[in-house]
């Protein structure tokens, strides 16, 4: 089974890339592949895949070359990268924090491994990080266990852990999905502030399009393991080119009086199973605009001149000449 098929993107320092899509579309597998966190016994990254990390900008004395390919790097290099250069926030803070160690111990772990700081300095740094993520009473909290914290606080501890080595890239996998909206707002504000301060590049994986609209610069839309559209955030929301993107945007309940009580536009059917993908375009069974060609052949991801990409035989809002040019 191919969970993620031919996904490519670039991310610059200080940029936020959103990856959106429904459950099972391959968002999480993409992020875990970048970090090489998938079990090697049951899965592999196809030879020829590349995940280039340009470490040139900041020297950390970790002996990494200016360009590392994470897809093929040896375990020793990966250990230097994980947590220090590229850090990750997971969706479920309760399962990703170790219940038998204090949060102070867990914060200290990355510092112990990646820095040469002494014990007192590390403790001071851990407290500073907890302050940064606005945990009240950090001196006391540092000695507490994950179960003693609320959901929002646990997620903030996760962020503090991810950021304590000031990574170049932060991968946040559904960081606010399990949280209440008021706490979600706190976390998003926090991530925004940290991005400004440290110029961190962020990959934000989410299915919440509102969050994407508010914080991302560019968006990758995934469907059944494939990238089906990629565009700057404003263009994507105002003029989606893939019928799936358009339908997804329409199916969110809108605020305001005009929409009250109306039926929502929906996408019929369900996401296809990756074991049993339809022939042709993976979306054609649910697409209201599918034609014969969509059933017969899978479209390629085509880059337009404006830097947008779309995987559709009949993209929306693209002049016909461009479409013809693509077929040739």
């Amino acid at each position: 089974m191919t969970a993620v098929d031919d996904v490519s993107f670039d991310l610059a320092a200080g940029e936020t890339l959103g990856i959106v899509g429904e459950s099972g579309c391959g968002k999480t597998v993409t992020s875990k592949s970048i970090m090489r966190l998938l079990p090697e016994r049951t899965s592999f990254i196809k030879p020829g895949s590349r995940v280039l990390l340009r470490t040139g900008g900041r020297d950390r004395g970790d002996g990494l070359p200016p360009e590392v390919d994470l897809a093929t790097a040896d375990p020793e290099t990966m250990r230097k990268v994980r947590g220090a250069r590229v850090a990750m926030i997971f969706q479920e803070p309760m399962t990703s924090l170790n219940p038998v160690f204090t949060i102070g111990w867990q914060l200290d772990e990355a510092l112990r491994y990646h820095t040469t700081l002494g014990r007192r300095e590390r403790r001071a740094r851990a407290i500073e990080m907890l302050k940064l993520v606005e945990i009240p009473n950090p001196e006391r909290r540092i000695g507490e266990y994950p179960h003693q914290l609320s959901g929002g606080m646990r997620q903030r501890v996760m962020i503090a852990m991810a950021l304590c080595c000031e990574p170049d890239v932060l991968i946040a996998d559904e960081p606010t999905t399990a949280l209440d909206v008021t706490i979600q707002a706190q976390i998003l504000q926090l991530m925004e502030g940290l991005k400004k301060r440290l110029n961190t590049a962020i990959v934000l994986i989410t299915h919440n399009l509102g969050v994407v609209a508010q914080v991302c610069d560019r968006v990758l839309v995934m469907y059944a393991g494939r990238v089906i559209e990629s565009a700057p955030v404003r263009e994507l929301f105002h003029a989606p080119r893939h019928p799936y993107t358009k339908a997804l945007l329409e199916s969110i309940p809108k605020t305001g009086r005009k929409e009250h009580g109306k039926r929502l536009p929906t996408i019929e059917g369900i996401v296809p199973s990756l074991y049993d993908l339809p022939k042709g375009c993976r979306f054609h069974e649910r697409c209201s605009m599918a034609k014969e060609r969509c059933i017969a052949e899978e479209p390629a991801l085509v880059a337009g001149e404006d830097g947008r990409q779309v995987r559709c035989h009949y993209p929306l809002g693209v002049p016909a000449t461009l479409t013809v040019g693509v077929t040739a």
């Binding site: 399009l209 508010q214 105002h238 997804l248 929906t266």
Partner: protein, 353 residues
Amino acid sequence: MTAAPIKPGTNGAPAVSGAAAEAAPLLEVHNLVKHFPVRGGILNRVVGHVHAVNGVSLTVKRGEILGVVGESGCGKSTLGKLVLRLIEPTSGSIRFDGTEITGLGHAEMMPFRRRMQIVFQDPYSSLNPRKTVRMMLREALKFHRVVKSSEIEATIDELIRKVGLRPDAKDKFPHEFSGGQRQRLGIARALALRPEFIVCDEPVSALDVSIQAQVLNLMMGLKEEFGLTLLFISHDLKVIEHFCDRVLVMYLGHVVEEMACERLHNEDGSVGALHPYTNALLGANPIDDPDERRPLTVLQGDVPSPYDLPKGCPFAGRCPRAMDKCRSEMPPLVERPTIGNGAASHKVACWAV
């Protein structure tokens, strides 16, 4: 043999909507309180109480959808279970269709159990994994003797079709369905008994956006077809605004605002809600338009523990408009006459507005 068409129970309500909903209330809850004892110490004595629901009053008219919104731990799910008497209230009154149901015994409660149903958030843990859909629905239909035994099979087919599942779903087990389909099963199970009133406890929260829209549309269609009355619990104010007629905003077991969903936003898009907490909920919801980027309303701190309720207004600790009075005295929920509001009631519990 054909099945009798599924319609609401004995005193079947006509499908009412909008203005016609002025009918007698189907559910009236007055001053409902639920405290859970907390035990501790070596003798396992009761050392305190968690104040889950603190004097909630509400009315749901026939054919109406009342939304209940609030953050985790505000008591909204407890409220849903209390009105069905799945848990017993500490005090207060619940009248269903004119009958006080709080003191009823097991047998007396039985007809009401059939008329009041619930759809849970997680349909997987609320469906028996060892029963097929057919077994599950048949059990409910038989137990409550909803239809003649000769009509059971046809009724099951009809239910499956009504909730938009394929006929072969009948002989499948819950694990063979996707999340959205399982939620449809949860709805079929609730509908099987031809209820008049359904509590929907976060029915779409665990679903993807496109599936969420499908399930919401399904529920809206079924509600109109069967003239159902719904208590719709959700943490997502956007879904509530879209789906419900009125909304109850809860914070730490208290109702802080009650209003028509249409009034949450004014014609010009400005916020029509009055309570600072409702405003914070609306403001914290990220708008799905990159041109309308704005700082999200960020409330400081977490929800206080319901074990140890603050004196005065429960929201005072996080409220941007809190005054001295808020910290010492609990504001009552009072009617606010608003301009051009017509007959729609709007109640707010706040000293500052």
